[in-house]
C-alpha cells in the first residue's frame, strides 16, 4: 500500500478527492490517501513544492500561475485530473442587489445582472460615493476571472471603477456584514453560508457566466509525475472511480453526509446536498436559483484535463493584466493540463479535436482557443 499525503481546502469541490480517500476507491488502487486540511492556497502550493504534500486539490489558475512563475517562484505543477467544473457564485450585499432591482434590468439573466451592476456602480460614482469593493479568494482563480468578466460586461473597468481584494473564505461573511466588501465571487459552500447568515443574496451562479468553466484540479509537482508515473496513474484511476460515484444522484445524500463531517467541511449535510443538486437558496427565506451545471463532478468528460481550458485560463490572466501574452507561455500553460496522463491511466484513446467554445461563454466574446491572439484582441479587457 503506497501512502500519499494530499492537501485540500474545505470546499464542496474537494468532494471527489475526499470520496476517493474515504470510501475505498484509493485502496482499490493500492493507495492510502492521508488528507491534510489546509487554510490557504499559498500553503497548498508551498507544501506541494517542498514535498510535504504529494499532491493537492488546487485552483486550476494557481497551478498554471505557479508553473509559469507568476507572482512567485516557479513551481512546475501538472494537472492530470480535473476535480470539477463550475461550483461558484456571486453574492451581493442586500442594498446593492435592491439598487440593481430598481434599474429595471432582467436579473434572471447573467447579462442583465452585469448591466444592472454597471449602472449601480456608475450611479454611485456620480453621487461621489466610494467605489464598491468585491472579493475573491485568490488572485489566480476562476472566481477572479468570472467577476472581472461580469464587471466588464457591465461596462466597468475592474481595476478603476471598483476595488477587487482577496478575502479568505472564513472571513467573507463577516466582511460582507461589516461593509468591508459589498459582494464576492467564491466557490461553494461560501455563498450559501453568507445567505444562511442573512448577510447577502446570491445574484448569479457561475454557469450563468461561463457554462463549463475549469475550477479545481489535482495538482502534483512535475518531479513526482516524472518519478512515479505508475502511482500517478493509480491516483487518477481512484479519482475517476470516486467521481463516477459522486456524480450519481443516488449517492448524493451519502456524499453530503461524508462532506459534512467536522474533519472536512463541518457544515449541515442538507446545505451541502443542495449544492450538489445545483439548487441554491438566494436569500435566507429561500428563493432558489437552479442550474443543473452548478457543480459538475464527472459527467460529459468533465474530469479530463482539457488543454483548451488551460488556454482559457492563460487568456484570462492576460486579459486581467496579470501577465503579458507570449506564445511560449501559452504553450507552457497548456502543458500543465496532462490529458495524456489521464488517457493513459484510464486506457482510453485520445479524443479528437473538439470545436466550439470550451468554456461556453454565456455573454460577451466567445472563447476561441484556436487563435488566442485574435481572441485577446477582440475581447474587452477585464
Amino acid at each position: 500500500m503506497r501512502r500519499l499525503a494530499i492537501g485540500f481546502i474545505p470546499l464542496t469541490d474537494a468532494a471527489v478527492l475526499i470520496a476517493a480517500a474515504e470510501l475505498g476507491f484509493a485502496t482499490t488502487e493500492g493507495l492510502e490517501i492521508d488528507l491534510h486540511r489546509e487554510v490557504s492556497w499559498a500553503n497548498i502550493r508551498d507544501k506541494v513544492n517542498v514535498g510535504l504534500l504529494d499532491g493537492a486539490h488546487i485552483l486550476a489558475p494557481l497551478a498554471i500561475a505557479s508553473s509559469l512563475g507568476l507572482g512567485h517562484v516557479r513551481v512546475p505543477l501538472v494537472a492530470p485530473f480535473a476535480l470539477n467544473l463550475n461550483g461558484s457564485a456571486i453574492t451581493l450585499a442586500h442594498p446593492i442587489y435592491e439598487a440593481m432591482e430598481a434599474t429595471g434590468h432582467d436579473l434572471s439573466s447573467g447579462l442583465g445582472v452585469a448591466q444592472a451592476l454597471g449602472e449601480v456602480v456608475r450611479a454611485r460614482a456620480a453621487q461621489g460615493h466610494d467605489p464598491l469593493t468585491f472579493s475573491t479568494v485568490y488572485t489566480f482563480s476562476t472566481h477572479t476571472y468570472m467577476l472581472r468578466h461580469v464587471l466588464a460586461a457591465g461596462g466597468l473597468d475592474p481595476d478603476r471603477d471598483v476595488r477587487l481584494v482577496v478575502v479568505p473564505p472564513p472571513f467573507t461573511v463577516e466582511s460582507l456584514r461589516s461593509g468591508l466588501i459589498h459582494g464576492f465571487c467564491v466557490g461553494s459552500p461560501w455563498n450559501a453560508v453568507a445567505v444562511e447568515a442573512g448577510v447577502g443574496r446570491i445574484a448569479l451562479l457561475g454557469p450563468e457566466i461561463f457554462g463549463w468553466a475549469p475550477e479545481k484540479v489535482l495538482g502534483v509537482h512535475a518531479r513526482f509525475a516524472e518519478a512515479e508515473p505508475d502511482v500517478l496513474r493509480r491516483l487518477v484511476r481512484a479519482l475517476h472511480a470516486a467521481a463516477l460515484w459522486s456524480e450519481a444522484a443516488a449517492n448524493r445524500a451519502e456524499l453530503a453526509h461524508l462532506l459534512s463531517a467536522p474533519a472536512f467541511l463541518g457544515l449541515p449535510a442538507e446545505v451541502l446536498a443542495r449544492m450538489l443538486e445545483g439548487r441554491l437558496n438566494t436569500t435566507q427565506a429561500g428563493l432558489p436559483r437552479e442550474n443543473p451545471d452548478f457543480l459538475v463532478l464527472h459527467r460529459d468528460g468533465a474530469n479530463r484535463p482539457d488543454a483548451r481550458h488551460a488556454a482559457w485560463i492563460y487568456a484570462q490572466m492576460v486579459r486581467a493584466g496579470q501577465t503579458t501574452y507570449s506564445p511560449d507561455d501559452a504553450r507552457e500553460a497548456g502543458a500543465v493540463y496532462r490529458a495524456d496522463v489521464y488517457d493513459d491511466a484510464l486506457g482510453i484513446a485520445p479524443a479528437g479535436s473538439s470545436v466550439g467554445d470550451p468554456v461556453k461563454t454565456c455573454f460577451g466574446e466567445a472563447f476561441r482557443p484556436e487563435d488566442l491572439a485574435d481572441y485577446l484582441a477582440r475581447v474587452k479587457p477585464a
Binding site: 499559498a42 512567485h72 488572485t139 476595488r163 479568505p168 472564513p170 472571513f171 463577516e174 468591508l180
Partner: protein, 196 residues
C-alpha cells in the same frame, strides 16, 4: 552584527505569545521597527499603510492569500512583494514551511539583508512549537495523575485498601493486561460510574 535596524518588519500571527517571542528576538538582534498584527480585518489596507519591507506570517493563518494579492502589480499597490526565497533557496523554503512560517519581502531588497531575519523567525517558531509540545506533555501528565488519584480513591473506598495497596493493584492489573496504568484507572472510574 550587520543587521539593518531600520527595516520595517510586520509580524502577522494570531498567537500573541509567539508573536511576542519573535518580536523580542528581532529587537534583541537590533531591529527597532517591528510591528505585530493579530487582527485580520482589512489586513491589506493596513499593510499598505504600514508599507513594510518584510512580512512574516504564520502558516496557519488564512491571510497568507491576502498578502499574496500584493504580488499583483495593480494601481493600488505601491511596492510589489515577493517571497524572499528564490529557486536557489529551496532549503530555506523547506525550513520555513516545516517550522510553520512564511516570509515576504519587498521586491529588490537584497537577500543578505533579510537572511538573518528569516533565520531568526524560523528558529523562534521552532522553539515555540517545542515549548508548546512540552506544555502539552506536562498537561497530559497532570491529567493522568488526577485519573490515577481518582481510581485509587475509588479502590480505597470500595475495597478498604490503603493507598499503597490500591496503587499496587492498578499496577499489577496494568502489567497483566499489557495496558497503561492510566487506562486501567480510567476503566475503574468508568465502572464505578456505572455502578453508582
Amino acid at each position: 552584527m550587520t543587521n539593518d535596524p531600520g527595516l520595517k518588519i510586520v509580524i502577522v500571527d494570531a498567537s500573541p505569545l509567539r508573536a511576542a517571542i519573535l518580536e523580542a528576538g528581532l529587537r534583541e538582534a537590533g531591529y527597532l521597527n517591528v510591528m505585530r498584527l493579530a487582527e485580520h480585518s482589512n489586513l491589506l489596507a493596513r499593510l499598505h499603510a504600514i508599507d513594510p519591507d518584510v512580512i512574516l506570517i504564520d502558516l496557519e493563518d488564512p491571510s497568507r492569500d491576502v498578502v499574496e494579492q500584493m504580488f499583483q502589480v495593480s494601481r493600488e499597490v505601491k511596492r510589489p512583494v515577493a517571497m524572499f526565497v528564490d529557486q536557489s533557496d529551496s532549503s530555506t523554503i523547506e525550513a520555513a514551511i516545516e517550522a510553520g512560517v512564511s516570509a515576504y519581502i519587498v521586491d529588490g531588497l537584497k537577500k543578505e539583508r533579510v537572511r538573518p531575519i528569516v533565520d531568526m523567525t524560523i528558529s523562534r517558531f521552532r522553539a515555540f512549537s517545542r515549548l508548546r509540545d512540552e506544555l502539552e506533555q506536562t498537561r497530559t501528565a497532570l491529567e493522568e495523575r488526577k485519573t490515577l488519584d481518582r481510581a485509587k480513591g475509588i479502590l480505597m473506598k470500595m475495597k478498604g485498601f490503603d493507598e499503597e495497596a490500591a496503587y499496587a493493584l492498578l499496577r499489577r492489573t496494568a502489567m497483566n493486561e499489557k495496558k497503561r496504568m492510566v487506562d486501567i484507572a480510567q476503566s475503574v472510574i468508568t465502572a464505578a460510574d456505572l455502578f453508582k
